[in-house]
């Protein structure tokens, strides 16, 4: 690096190989995982998995999970957990549906309102954690049940006894904002590509893939934004610092409480986005929406290189972690395996990722 001042060169510092530089990137494990999973399915799965429509097929659930996982990853880097995000999806979905269906508000009002509502719940979560000094694990576990229960009670109240609130499609159809949260983007482009014979088409000439599902675009944009914030803004440095050592961070002037509460609000907002996308897509909401998503999101974040102890990880890692997840869930349907192997696969991935991350962390910190 500084060959010019050879006199200062320390003879005990060995030159680093490219490989060991690579090893220090937190997302390495997830990228390696993606490669392994691709190889696995390339051998075992039907060839149609890796066509454009197959790709959209597994990217769509991966994106819905990934949006949650990126929020969870940022919160984990900041040193906290949120076990209530799955329930938050149901709760925000209920709020959204009530606004849109029962109150008949336009999406221009409903969507910001849903985000604000979710962020407030996140802020409550965060404030309790910060003020009480209790582990976020316990506080948000409480909210996992509280929000799930409230969703159920609220649904019955809003529908007069049913556990499903229908009519979202009718309420959102034709709204100017609907295409941003539902359906496929760039249909024109894909139609053109079909005409030019660049993408697969049905017999009638329509493209097999009508466009890019909007959740994939949201997923990519959020991953890019999160990475930018983490690596290239002071706030990103504060997140790493707050997660690495709360005391050291606040002694150095990092507003730790503000950083952490904001992260809780952000994860809740991510849950709200997933709620909006999936509720519009399904046309209804129910109390089981987002069930166990909190664990899946945390698993994706951990596969992506986040340490459970905080202060280390990346949004890109969570991005690939979620893709691995989607590929496994959907990929198994392209193989001859029983689909129920999915959970075994997932647990094994988690275990390998944690072992791997642990070894990496020791390398990074020079622990012996």
């Amino acid at each position: 690096m500084n060959a010019s001042d050879g006199a200062l060169e320390d003879e005990r510092v060995k030159a680093e190989s490219f490989l060991s530089r690579l090893m220090r990137r937190p997302e390495l494990g997830a990228i390696a995982g993606v490669i392994l999973v691709v190889i696995f399915f390339a051998i075992t799965a039907d060839g149609s998995m890796f066509t454009l429509s197959g790709f959209m097929n597994f990217m769509s659930p991966a994106s819905q999970l990934g949006i949650l996982a990126i929020g969870a990853a940022m919160l984990m880097i900041g040193g906290e957990f949120d076990l209530s995000i799955g329930s938050m999806v149901a709760f925000a979905g209920l709020f959204f549906a009530i606004c849109a269906v029962n109150w008949g508000l336009p999406l221009v009002v409903t969507i910001p309102l849903t985000f604000v509502f979710a962020a407030c719940v996140g802020a409550v979560n965060g404030t309790i954690v910060i003020r009480s000094g209790l582990p976020s694990f316990i506080v948000t576990l409480a909210f996992l049940f509280i929000l799930r229960g409230l969703s159920l009670v609220g649904l019955k109240w809003a529908t007069g006894g049913s556990t499903q609130l229908r009519g979202v499609r009718e309420a959102t159809e034709g709204d100017i904002l609907t295409p941003f949260f539902s359906g496929d983007a760039f249909p024109g482009l894909f139609a053109r590509l079909a005409e030019m014979g660049l993408v697969e088409t049905f017999g009638n000439g329509a493209p097999k893939v009508p466009g890019i599902p909007v959740e994939i675009l949201w997923f990519v944009v959020i991953a890019a934004l999160a990475t930018y914030v983490l690596l290239r803004t002071p706030a990103g440095n504060w997140i790493f610092a707050a997660g690495g050592d709360t005391n050291a961070a606040s002694n150095s002037g990092v507003p730790v409480a503000r950083v952490k509460v904001s992260l809780f609000m952000l994860t809740a907002a991510c849950a709200a986005l997933v709620a909006i996308i999936t509720v519009i897509d399904a046309g209804s909401t129910d109390a089981r929406r987002g069930f166990q998503k909190e664990f899946e999101a945390i698993i994706a974040a951990v596969i992506g290189g986040c340490l459970l102890t905080g202060g280390y990880g990346s949004a890109i890692g969570a991005f690939f972690g979620a893709i691995i997840f989607g590929m496994v869930v959907i990929g198994l349907t392209y193989t001859n395996f029983d689909q129920d192997w999915f959970q075994v696969f997932l647990g094994a991935m988690l275990l390998i990722a944690v072992l791997f991350n642990n070894a990496i962390r020791k390398r990074v910190t020079g622990e012996r």
Binding site: M1, E9, R232, P234, N237, D245, N247, V254, V364, G366
Partner: protein, 272 residues
């Protein structure tokens, strides 16, 4: 590596103190932690604060760095009375404290630690961002000035030795414009070689005109760099001595409060 003949700041005695603490008392409930301590530090000197465990050293430096408010007494900063409500106030005035835990995060890179909470930015508005290149460059230069050659600015602090971490913390304080640098037992957990590196760093900092307050309970470390020595015992100062006026044995006795130590030393056969 270490220049054993430090250039002690003779001229310093002529200058006005940067910080002057007069008859500081600090009570915690019915416990009197400090019972009238006077202390000052001048530009370009290293003033050692010595004392045994429980002597009140920590309480005293926490008062100086704005963590505690004194019950009685006054603090003069550059001649005018000052009240620090938070450590942040003291920091902004130019009193930097390097506590024993160093406020460093092992998993983060040296550059990120260096600028933690005070990141340089470029761009404006929505595009205001962390100027990583500048942060890296400044970190490398500042560390080289202190005689530490990093593998790269992205090296994790966890891979540095204790002495190097101490130096990063000191370099950080100096870079952010410290006029007074308070070091809380910087050498207590270090080996011989690392200790001499830190002592050499203290010397470099002093030569830049910064007043250093060096807290220690090791007389030899203090004598190696100190210009003046103040001994705290049971919440009181037992006087300030200038370099050359006092022998290690006398300092040791003052710290321990006299007679028992003399007996102990007799049975151990030498200075502890």
């Amino acid at each position: 590596m270490t220049d054993s003949t430090f250039h002690h700041g003779e001229a310093a005695t002529a200058q006005a103190p940067i910080v002057e603490m007069r008859n500081i008392e600090k009570h915690f409930g019915n416990i009197i932690a400090l019972a009238g301590v006077s202390f000052d530090v001048r530009p370009g000197e290293c003033h050692c604060l010595l004392g045994d465990n429980g002597a009140g050293k920590s309480t005293f430096i926490k008062t100086m760095s704005g963590v505690h408010k004194p019950t009685k007494g006054e603090i003069l900063f550059e001649g005018t009375p000052m009240k620090f409500d938070t450590p942040r106030d003291a920091m902004e005035a130019g009193i930097a404290t390097v506590f024993q835990d160093l406020a460093m995060i092992p998993l983060m890179s040296v550059a990120r630690n260096f600028f933690m909470g005070r990141e340089p930015t470029k761009g404006r508005g929505l595009f205001k961002r962390f100027d990583v290149d500048r942060a890296n460059e400044i970190t490398m230069t500042e560390m080289r000035k202190m005689g530490i050659n990093l593998r790269g600015p992205d090296q994790a602090v966890g891979t540095l030795s204790g002495g190097e971490r101490q130096t990063v913390a000191i370099a950080r304080a100096v870079h952010f414009g410290a006029k007074v640098l308070i070091l809380d037992e910087p050498t207590s957990a270090l080996g011989v070689r690392q200790t001499s590196n830190v002592l050499a760093t203290i010397d470099k900092v002093r030569n830049q005109g910064i007043g250093v307050v060096f807290i220690s309970h090791n007389v030899r470390h203090a004598l190696a760099v100190g210009d003046r020595f103040t001994v705290l015992n049971r919440g009181k100062t037992l006087g300030t001595a200038t370099r050359g006026e006092i022998s290690p044995e006398e300092l040791q006795d003052l710290m321990a409060g006299g007679q028992e130590m003399a007996q102990l030393e007799g049975s151990l056969g030498g200075t502890v």
